[in-house]
């Protein structure tokens, strides 16, 4: 499977944020998108996910088979927001996404253990701290299987130990033949990842 972006151009409110961005990622490859605020990292990720229309160019996956024919169906998108309901418990939140997204992988229990939140599943999501909420959101990547992970500032709010644990999760995902595209300011601890440096448009 291969994730290809050709000649992408992105707009925000009618103004071009970036243009002529292209990359092709094979299984096991990661792309780190860096750049100052306002350089279009989040916009790029949302365009790749298909949540925003591309001003120019296109994004596609090759070799996804019948299960993952399109980028949207092959991707986990982890944005700034955690996509969890504060009124529901952690287990209910993760259980819902596991059932809704299909292709179940780890059980909710196992995923919570992996992000070191085992035993907290019964708590309402609203009771958790910022870092713990982010970790639940990371656990969401594990409960259903998607080859492409699109991560927007995935480590925002995480402590040192959790950052390292998350780097380990990304490495495991890459070893399993996954693809990671991450926008970040902080080093993610991925060796051999390619880097895409974005600049603020003139």
């Amino acid at each position: 499977m291969r994730l290809i972006a050709e000649n992408l151009g992105g707009e925000r409110g009618g103004e071009a944020v970036f243009s002529n961005i292209g990359f092709a990622l094979d299984q096991g490859e990661a792309l780190i998108v860096t750049g100052p605020n306002g350089s279009g990292k989040s916009t790029l990720l949302r365009i790749v996910a298909g949540l925003l229309p591309a001003a120019r160019g296109k994004v596609l996956v090759e070799g996804g088979g019948e299960v993952f024919p399109t980028v949207a169906s092959a991707s986990h998108y982890l944005g700034h927001l955690n996509a969890m309901k504060t009124a529901l418990s952690v287990e209910e939140n993760l259980g819902f996404w596991r059932a809704f997204e299909g292709e179940p992988a780890l059980s909710v229990e196992e995923a919570l253990e992996t992000v070191a939140l085992g035993g907290l599943g019964h708590l309402p999501f609203g009771y958790l701290s910022t870092g713990q909420r982010r970790r639940v959101s990371i656990a969401k990547l594990l409960v259903s299987r998607r080859p492409v992970w699109l991560l927007d500032e995935p480590t925002a709010g995480l402590d040192k130990a959790s950052e390292e644990r998350f780097a380990g999760l990304m490495r495991d995902h890459l070893e399993d033949g996954g693809i990671v595209v991450a926008a970040t300011h902080l080093p993610l601890g991925l060796e051999g990842a390619r880097e895409l440096q974005m600049r603020v448009a003139g």
């Binding site: 019948e66 949207a72 998108y77 309901k85 529901l88 209910e92």
Partner: protein, 237 residues
Amino acid sequence: MAGRPERGAWAQASQTMLALFLRDIRLSIRAGGGALVGVIFFLAVIVTIPFGVGPDLSLLSRIGPAILWIAALLACLLGLDRLFQADREDGSLDLLVLNGDRHMLALTVLTKCLAHWTGSVLPLVVAAPLLGLFMNMAPLGIGATALTLLIGTPAITFIGAAGAAVAVALPRGGLLISVLVLPLTIPVLIFGVSASYGAVADPAPFLQPFLILAALTLFLAVVGPLAAALALRHGTD
């Protein structure tokens, strides 16, 4: 899904939608869900009417079905703005739209509508017979009005979903949704009220307007979610 028979895909889709339905129902009954707000508003309107109209029992029983319907319509519109906005604020909407590639987004919207209806409109239908007593309505009229509300109010939710999807990005979209949706709900109101009258007033027919009401609900069950899905897909930012 490769190689699996069609039935497998159906079973998977229905399980997925059941998960969404149960989540939305849970959210509506948990704290801050707002399931009771509509009922309390409905109650407040109906209880106020007799004070305004005066103690003319025959007048009250004559306008009863219409008042019940109008109050139910307004109470339905009350909670609609949260239908997609709550999901947008916490980022869930992005993932619902993304997964629209996997199972039709319109189906997701339909499920959300059904959950919204069950959580916040069905209580109105249940409360309607009780409130009919305030309006001095005959048992037959109360039953007919409750039945038409049961059949007709889903249509309001389906139209409302399209309005809610259009206004999802607006911070105070609630009023806009009501204004957008209200003209479209007028046919539902007309046939709902005329069927309710048909059951009690003799020359007026019951079955014809009732069947048109049912047809409206079925028609809007398809059109509303499709329009809402289209608006959501183009409204992400």
